[in-house]
Amino acid sequence: MTDAPIVPDFSGPDCPAPNAAPAQRKLVIICSKGNLDMAYPGLILGSAALGEGIETHLFFTFWGFDMITKGRMDDLKFTMLGNTAMHLTQAPGMPIPAMLGTLPGMTKMATKMMQKQIADLEIPTVPEMLEQIHEMGGHMWACRMSFDMMRLNEADLYEGVEAVISATDFMELSEGAQIIFI
């Protein structure tokens, strides 16, 4: 039986409590993959973190650029090659030889299957997720080196990306943050 209510801790930029934790939690997610299946972990975690009031930054590098490149973000693909964990949802026990992935049309089929699974669960598409993250106040950054390597220009990138930053900038940005590499 409690005598007095437990005072919650709403520490944050809008409501600093007297016994506030030292700094607001900060999360940085590095998105380095361009396959459809690997685009989602970063986006979902980012959006969930923002929903919890955590300051969230997404940093796109290498193949993650496909997620923020206007032409490609809608068209990410999924392949079974090299992915020994891919299962058919209707037949999880079926042993599928990885070699099948080299057959023409298999990537397309696997991508379609995955897109359907995503749509069935009403999970938003990659562009929609980026939009949501942007609206929720998430920060998005692009990696200078990959940007130069792939010879992209700013116009190609999604508007929500704030800037193209170098690794050093990234180090400053991620000070004190929890970093997840995907």
């Binding site: 209510p5 919650p8 709403f10 944050g12 809008d14 409501c15 979902i44 959006s47 969930a48 929903g51 919890e52 009031g53 999970i123 938003p124 997720m129 949501q132 609206e135 929720m136 106040g137």
Partner: protein
């Protein structure tokens, strides 16, 4: 499942303090719950709360932030302004609904 007194009425809650019975909530209670976490409710807040209650009675699950935005029509930015910090949790707490389960 503990039962506590809120605004003078016995209310069933879970260990975190969220209501577990849909029918035990009413708007007076909602106002009290908001006061307990330091929020003052305006009409904009009430629009969201009413949407959540209506949506829950249809689908038997609490709308996620995304659903509140796409189906309810409340821009996400606005939800963050109205219920700062952890909007999804605060909204469902004040509305007397369970925390949303979905990821998005």
């Amino acid at each position: 499942m503990p039962t506590t007194l809120i605004a003078g009425r016995p209310i069933d809650v879970n260990d975190e303090g969220f209501l577990v019975a849909y029918d035990q909530w009413d708007e007076k209670l909602g106002g009290e719950l908001a006061r307990l976490i330091g929020l003052e409710l305006t009409d904009a807040h009430w629009a969201v709360i009413r949407f959540l209650r209506a949506d829950y009675s249809l689908r038997s699950e609490t709308a996620t932030l995304r659903r509140a935005s796409t189906v309810g029509g409340f821009p996400i930015k606005e939800l963050f302004e109205l219920f700062p910090g952890k909007p999804a949790k605060k909204m469902s707490y004040i509305s007397g609904l369970p925390k949303p389960k979905g990821c998005v």
